[in-house]
């Protein structure tokens, strides 16, 4: 009787131990699985800036070129600037730009104003598949017919862009 129960007990204990081990292992597996998931969901990874070199290059190049185009202006050929704005700006950036452009159109022909803009340096702050935020330092030189010298001014912009099809469109311009 005692041997029997002892033996049966032993079987039960082995059984129970095995199940306890299994439960512990499953617990460890769940914890590891959750850890792995949280590592993959790390918001640091969601930002592709400095991670996806090709995408960083593309957005930097396109936004830089776009800014140079929309902030360059020749009083005798305003249509070029206007066309660039139509193609490269949208949303809030477009609305603000239109106000700026209207005032420029008013005084430019009298002053024979020419603006030339170049991007000094641009860095991507945040990048996803379809959205990007950049910090851009640009220089704008302006020349008027009456004064021979042209003046150069520096600007710092925080630029937001969205991927429209295959090219980036500027959606917000925030002077800093």
């Amino acid at each position: 009787m005692t041997v029997m129960t002892r033996s049966a007990n032993r079987a039960l204990i082995a059984q129970a131990l095995a199940l306890v081990v299994a439960v512990v292992l499953i617990g460890v597996a769940v914890v590891l699985g959750l850890r792995a998931q949280s590592l993959r969901d790390d918001p640091a990874l969601a930002n592709r800036a400095q991670l996806d070199d090709a995408a960083v290059r593309q957005v930097t190049t396109e936004v830089s070129r776009g800014l140079a185009q929309v902030f360059s202006y020749d009083w005798s050929q305003p249509g070029i600037t206007k066309a660039a704005a139509d193609e490269l700006l949208s949303g809030q950036a477009r609305e603000e730009y239109d106000t700026l452009f209207a005032s420029l159109q008013e005084r430019a022909p009298d002053q024979k104003l020419t603006l030339s803009t170049q991007v000094q340096v641009a860095g991507v702050q945040h990048l996803t598949e379809t959205k990007a935020t950049l910090l851009v330092f640009l220089d704008q030189s302006s020349s008027r017919a009456e004064d021979e010298e042209s003046s150069v001014s520096a600007a710092q912009l925080r630029v937001e862009a969205e991927l429209d099809g295959r090219s980036w469109v500027i959606t917000a311009l925030n002077p800093l």
Partner: protein
Amino acid sequence: MTDGPDESTESSEDPVADSAGDPAEDAAGESAAAPELDGRPSVVVLGADDSAATSGRLRLGRWTLVVLAASIVAVVVAYLSWSRADDDPALARAELRDLAIIEGTAAVEAMNSMDYRDVEAGLEAWRSVTTGVLRDQLSAIAADERQLLADQGKIATGRVVEAALTELTDRTATMIAAVEVTVADKDPAQEPTVKRNRYSADLVLVDGDWLLENLGQVPVATS
């Protein structure tokens, strides 16, 4: 699970008890024969128990093995998944990038801050965020220059409005920053002035911290 072995041992015990004694003795013999029974049939019981136990162990063991194997597989799969996520070079790089922005920002702000009331603390803050030649230069600031900083009576406070990296390697980074410096005079009647600057900062990773190796304004092109 405990039902199985119990039933089988009971049923194997009954025939032994029946054949051991008369039906008349049964009632009285049950208790009296108990020690004897305990000894003799124990072999049978042991055998019966053994087979029940082994077959039980096998039967239940099959399930246990399945559960055990499944849990081992689960642990291995989860471990591999975790170690791959943990070793992801992109994650390490992303964390390095975010740290460079945070520490680079703090360093640029420190370099644009100075309080005339405690020049030594200001210089110490400059030294603590720099490395290499820049740090040596800051350490070499002479006493008369320190006195000058104290005599000017200005409190400069730098604030990085926006910053972004333009380059990142395992141990170097280039950060650009739009900086706003507020300069207050010791004379409270004087309004603080605000200057806007744009900087490019070369950062180096030293013992896990990003330090400034070079800091310069991004000049306006004079073309």
